[in-house]
């Protein structure tokens, strides 16, 4: 999420400082401790193409998963809420603000005004209602439907106000709404039968969102080209083009970075050495909230004994794994919540 939010913010709000940074590398590993800032000595300039890799073909359809799909969707569509890039706390995206009723069951979202879809059609509360009704429709096996458990109905109050009514309190809703809950256009999709909404072929020939970039071209196994959304509600992005090159092999991605064919590549720690000495490539550490773990199957009787699980955990030299596998780029975790999530992380937690 950090990576994608980072790219997203970079592309729409920050200039491409080609003279200073020909290529920017984000080092991906669990829980890096260095904060990345996109500081740039020069004033923002318009223009340029940002070329970044995808490891597979994107569907450009929010109702199905997959990392390549999610990355492209990040700039094609918007959510109701998004995460602040520094604190990771939820903040408004398509919703300017929101409030929750005293009993915690009714959430009201006040939407941005004057927002249009890429085809010029106005964005309204009906799109929000449609987006969530599709996701909870009994005939559509949306893969993240569990995240919306308890949602009773979505009510349109007026064109810019929408209510989500739950049958139970849902404190995590703002976080959930910022995670892969893209708003999709009702006016283009309402004609599809529910079973066809997992793959609306005609719509996907030219996907329409509200995001900072518009679809231009998709050549399977080659690339996706996006162009700026001139009508974007936060202003036209600085970039002239955004190209996602489909390169499945990580070593080839690094080679293309070295030749300048790519501007940005997320790296694994072991790949750092290949680019560390190159003067035209700048490496930066990025904060990530993901973690690596060994899952024990609790249905297996042996693992139902807490002493076995503890023995296996204590017997593993996690510090050595961090040092040798992640080359020290990370930190030992005390639980699934990353310390970077300052607003929910309990600082008093200590590993035994």
């Amino acid at each position: 999420m950090i990576l994608t939010n980072g790219m997203y913010r970079y592309s729409r709000q920050e200039p491409l400082c080609r003279r200073l940074v020909k290529a920017i590398v984000i080092l991906l590993c669990a829980g890096l401790s260095v904060v990345t800032t996109w500081a740039c000595a020069e004033a923002p300039k318009r223009g340029g193409t940002l070329t970044i890799p995808l490891n597979g073909n994107p569907r450009m359809w929010p109702l199905v998963g997959g990392l390549p799909n999610i990355l492209v969707n990040k700039v094609l569509y918007n959510y109701l809420l998004e995460y602040d890039a520094e604190t990771l706390a939820p903040r408004g995206d398509m919703a300017e603000r929101w409030e929750v009723s005293a009993d915690g069951l009714v959430w009201t979202f006040y939407l941005r005004k004057q927002v249009t879809w890429h085809d010029g059609h106005p964005f309204t509360a009906n799109d929000v209602k449609f987006s969530f009704e599709v996701r909870t429709h009994p005939d559509i096996p949306f893969y993240l439907r569990g995240n919306l458990a308890g949602l009773q109905r979505v009510e349109v109050v007026d064109e810019q106000t929408v209510k989500m009514i739950f049958d139970e309190r849902k404190a995590s809703l703002p976080v959930i709404l910022g995670y892969l809950m893209d708003i999709i256009p009702e006016h283009l999709l309402k004609g599809y039968a529910p079973k066809d909404l997992l793959n609306p072929n005609e719509f996907l020939q030219r996907p329409i969102g509200t995001g900072p970039f518009k679809f231009k071209e998709f050549v399977p196994n080659s690339h996706v080209t996006l162009v700026p959304n001139e009508m974007y509600f936060e202003g036209r992005p600085y970039l002239n083009n955004m190209v996602f090159k489909i390169i499945s092999d990580l070593d080839v991605q690094v080679a293309q970075l070295q030749t300048g064919a790519l501007d940005f590549v997320p790296l694994e720690p072991h790949q750092l050495q290949a680019v560390a000495a190159l003067p035209h490539i700048e490496t930066r550490l990025a904060r990530q909230v993901n973690y690596t773990f060994i899952g024990l199957n609790h249905t297996y009787p042996l693992f139902q004994d807490i002493r076995v699980r503890q023995a296996l955990t204590y017997g593993l030299d996690r510090a050595a794994v961090l040092k040798t596998v992640a080359l020290g780029k990370g930190m030992l975790s005390v639980g699934p919540i990353s310390p970077f999530l300052e607003w929910v992380y309990h600082k008093g937690l200590r590993s035994r």
Binding site: T49, T51, G56, N57, R59, W61, V64, G65, G66, P141, F142, Y143, L144, R145, G146, N147, K195, L198, N199, N201, L204, V219, P220, N221, S222, H223, T225, N241, V243, K245, I246, I247, S248, D249, D251, V252, A255, Q256, Q258, T259, A261
Partner: protein, 290 residues
């Protein structure tokens, strides 16, 4: 075999998905049927000219193959041309200069081609020609967002053709050399030489034509391998062809796409076998098909 491999279609593997939603999706995709029923349903579709819809791309498999086949034909056609021309030439040279330095060099080069892993060779070629010398692009098929230009296409073609061509050339070199040595020892070659026919004519008109029969067999076997099996080269060079489509379909357990590609490659095996048999008739007039 595919269904017995661990995992399933990638879209069903999201850890956040609920079991009932996964079951629903499996039902929609027909994956909850017994394997025999799934196969019969697929066969029925194929008989109606329908190869099904890709799980991962959401597009008809026929359209995916149709879109990726031209890129593969360009790459494999160019690589085959390089492999055949240089392979036969070097094989003849190696046979004629038997046990000389030239023969040893060609032998070493051809054994390198036979034994080198293509992904490593491809990466080394990229490191040399793209990263170090900065002569050629590291991957892709054309410059994105540029108008069509033959020069642009050719510069992207050079490295993958070099890799695919030289790797396949090695086999042709070895077979040509062995076959030429057998033919050159036969009496009719001695007769030709004793009649005063020039060495070039003896080699290329009398010997090579006969020596080519096993070589043509090898080329016939290479043809479907080149079209369907250029997967590694296409992956390393980000070449948007059918081999790469097959690799991504296999990783994503995209069963309809894998079945469609298998069917297409099977058709190519049949076509290349037919072409090989027809070539025999040209090369050896004693072979006749009634």
């Amino acid at each position: 075999m595919m269904l017995s491999a661990p995992g399933g279609p990638s879209m069903l593997l999201d850890p956040n998905a609920r079991a009932e939603d996964i079951a629903r999706m499996r039902q929609l995709m027909g994956l909850d049927d017994p394997i025999a029923i799934q196969y019969l349903k697929w066969l029925q579709q194929v008989c109606h000219g329908n190869l099904g819809v890709s799980y991962s791309a959401g597009r008809p498999v026929f359209a995916l193959i149709r879109d990726s086949l031209p890129a593969t034909l360009v790459l494999s056609g160019a690589a085959l041309s390089l492999a055949v021309t240089s392979g036969i030439a070097l094989g003849v040279l190696s046979a004629v200069k038997r046990y000389s330095l030239v023969d040893h060099v060609i032998t070493v080069v051809s054994f390198f081609g036979l034994s080198v892993p293509v992904f490593w060779y491809g990466l080394m070629v990229i490191m040399l020609f793209s990263v170090r010398l900065q002569l050629l692009p590291a991957g892709g098929m054309f410059t994105i967002d540029s108008t069509f230009s033959l020069g642009d296409r050719l510069q992207y073609l050079v490295l993958p053709v070099l890799v695919l061509g030289t790797v396949n050339m090695a086999e042709i070199v070895r077979y040509t050399r062995a076959s030429m040595l057998t033919v050159l020892g036969q009496d009719y070659i001695k007769t030709a030489r004793s009649k005063g026919i020039g060495e070039v004519k003896v080699l290329y008109q009398h010997a090579l034509k006969n020596a080519c029969i096993p070589v043509v067999t090898i080329i016939g076997l290479l043809l479907p391998r080149l079209v369907g099996g250029a997967a590694v080269t296409e992956t390393v060079f980000s070449w948007p062809g059918m081999g790469r489509l097959a690799v991504s379909a296999a990783f994503e357990r995209d069963y309809p796409t894998i079945m469609g590609i298998t069917l297409a490659i099977s058709a190519m095996v049949i076509v290349s076998n037919l072409l090989t048999d027809l070539c025999y008739v040209y090369l050896n007039p004693r072979i006749r098909y009634d």
